[in-house]
Amino acid sequence: MSSSVNYLRANKMPHIWCPGCGNGIVMSNIIRAINDSGIDREKTVIVSGIGCSSRAPGYMDFDTLHTAHGRAIPFATGIKMANPELNVIVITGDGDSSAIGGNHLIHGCRRNIDITVVIVNNNIYGMTSGQYSPLTPTGAWATTAQYGNIDRPFDIPRVVAACGATYVARASVFHVPQLKNYIQAGLANKGFSIIEAISICPTYFGRKNGMGDAPEMLKWLKDNCKMLKPGDAGNYLAGTAEYDVPYVLGEFVKTTAPEYTESYMKVIEKAGGAK
């Protein structure tokens, strides 16, 4: 555990996140997963978009890229295509990945390019102080939904599974061992992996939705998440499984498909460009 600190840019502390924010838990578990998977740190690039969670790469001592709002996945795609030896990890928020970056999310899945994407879902746009995102629950309060949110949220595992991601899992910032293990499994998967981390924003979501402070929100996660039953992933993704909680956690997709940069190497061979 103590080794996590070695992966941080200590001189960039204090971070910008509010007290009780879930981003630190997600970041530290990405680091633990990297450490435990044994991937080469000097050949690992961490890419993010814009938003609170997208500030994480600035604190992580790797090659890091803080891009534009919604665009982390295509930047990461260029990196991976140009140099497939690099391990590429994307950290993105719910708005960043599923609203402004939604097109890139689905096409990353379709290509099955070897990138691991961690979606930090705090149900709200935190950086801009509390507007509703595509992952805000129906009925919730947001600064742009002061009469209650009428939008229906995406269910990320079902969206990205349908689009072809070859590893899909969901954990929460309360369910820390699962979170770390799923990220590690995503890193091991040779393809496009999505790990949704249900997080907490006490400042702009919890406080305004009567969920209390950070410890209360963590307790809420404990009480309102259930683990996927063994063998039930297909039913869940088909929408036929019955769970009486807002969030089901677990591994929804573990499959294989041709990886994009490997397929492209075959194009190079066909064209006669292989050395």
Binding site: F62, L65, T67, P74, G78, H104
Partner: protein, 381 residues
């Protein structure tokens, strides 16, 4: 030097060949008329040299992938036309701010909006100059022949690498789609970005310029430097800061690293300028029509001359001022727009002589007779 055999090439095709000659090994694109052949040719030619081509899901993703590829030390390019460039603009600014070398091929068609997709125009000259938010500078090279599509693409890569900045290769649909016999030279200068001279360490500053230089060396991801890149305002460390002093210094440097080197960057072609009294300033396909009309006028005894900027931005202010002597009675700027570049010509010449724009916005190129007649109205023969 023995002459090379002429080959028949299309403008867009020549551009891709030039790009590969310059060292392009990544292309990220999205289809749009009249630039699609740039993507198609890249998809054919890049894998032959071990390079990578990817067709992204949209225009924004295309330039994003190119920025990512460039950060791995790979020379990278994208291409589009007006509607697509409008979409790419945010990331043009990102590349300016983060100082990422890349080339954007910009084939102009008639706008605004969807306009006339297969018709030539030059209505995007100011979009190329100003098209992103915030103060920045841009380099835009402008070919007016197929051979120049090849040669100026190499120059565009050289500028991108030397100045760590996005560079447009901008021209109109006519130059992109026409075919000409091209005799390529044996040697072309190719410039690669300067890499850091020091080994990776905790003290590495990715945006520190060497003494007397305003462009920082550039490491590649995977080289062990573990550096941070952001579109936020940043100091030499690359990390975000709200410091007014650092921000002021950064914005001035990324603008001046181009503007202060305008004389080195600008490439101009002149015809009959020594004793010229009636001077044309023209670029893209318009320069070809103007050249014909200038020769016609010369044959009739009119002392006509032509100034062709091959680099539109930064504006060739000093070269133009030097070329327009006291003998010049008129400067005429024919453009396939409502008058964009003419405003810069007017500003720079500052009342030295009358400057007149001739505008065409029908989606057709200037015909020689038509330009001749309009010119005669100006010079009042």
């Amino acid at each position: 030097m023995a002459k090379n055999k002429a080959v028949l090439l299309q403008g867009n095709e020549a551009c891709v060949m030039g790009a590969i000659r310059a060292g392009m090994r990544f292309y990220g694109g999205y289809p749009i008329t009249p630039s699609s052949e740039v993507a198609e040719q890249s998809s054919i030619l890049l894998p032959k040299v071990g390079g990578k081509f990817i067709q992204m899901e949209d225009e924004i993703a295309s330039i994003a992938s190119v920025i990512g590829a460039s950060l791995t030390g790979t020379k990278a390019m994208t291409a589009s036309s007006g509607p697509g460039i409008s979409l790419k603009q945010e990331l043009v600014g990102y590349a300016s701010m983060a100082e990422i070398p890349l080339v954007i091929v910009y084939i102009m068609r008639m706008g605004p909006s969807t306009g006339l997709p297969t018709s030539p125009a030059a209505g995007d000259i100011m979009q190329a100059k100003w098209g992103t938010h915030g103060d920045h500078s841009i380099i835009a090279v402008c070919p007016s022949s197929v051979k120049e599509m090849y040669e100026l693409t190499i120059k565009a890569f050289n500028f991108a690498e030397k100045y760590r900045t996005p560079v447009y290769l901008i021209t109109d649909e006519v130059i992109a789609h026409m075919r000409e016999g091209v005799e390529l030279e044996d040697d072309y200068e190719v410039i690669d970005r300067v890499r850091p001279s020091e080994a990776p360490s905790a003290d590495y500053l990715p945006y520190r310029c060497e003494e007397g230089c305003d462009v920082p060396p550039m490491a590649a991801y995977g080289d062990g430097y573990k550096f941070h890149v952001t579109g936020l305002s940043h100091g030499e460390s690359g990390f975000p800061t709200n410091s007014p002093e650092v921000n002021d210094k950064l914005v001035r440097r990324i603008v001046n690293k181009v503007e202060a080197h305008a004389d080195e960057i600008c490439i101009n072609e002149t015809h009959f300028m020594e004793d010229a009294e009636q001077v044309f300033v023209a670029y893209g396909s318009c320069a070809r029509t103007a050249h014909y009309v200038v020769k016609q006028l010369r044959a009739e005894g009119v002392k006509a001359g032509l100034f062709v900027p091959k680099v539109l931005w930064p504006f060739p202010a000093n070269a133009l001022k030097a070329a327009v002597s006291d003998k010049v009675k008129n400067v005429i700027v024919p453009e396939m727009n409502m008058g964009q570049y003419v405003l810069e010509v007017e500003r720079v010449l500052g009342g030295k002589c009358p400057v007149t724009g001739i505008s065409k916005v029908s989606g057709e190129l200037f015909k020689t007779d038509e330009l001749y007649e309009k010119v005669m109205e100006v010079i009042g023969k």
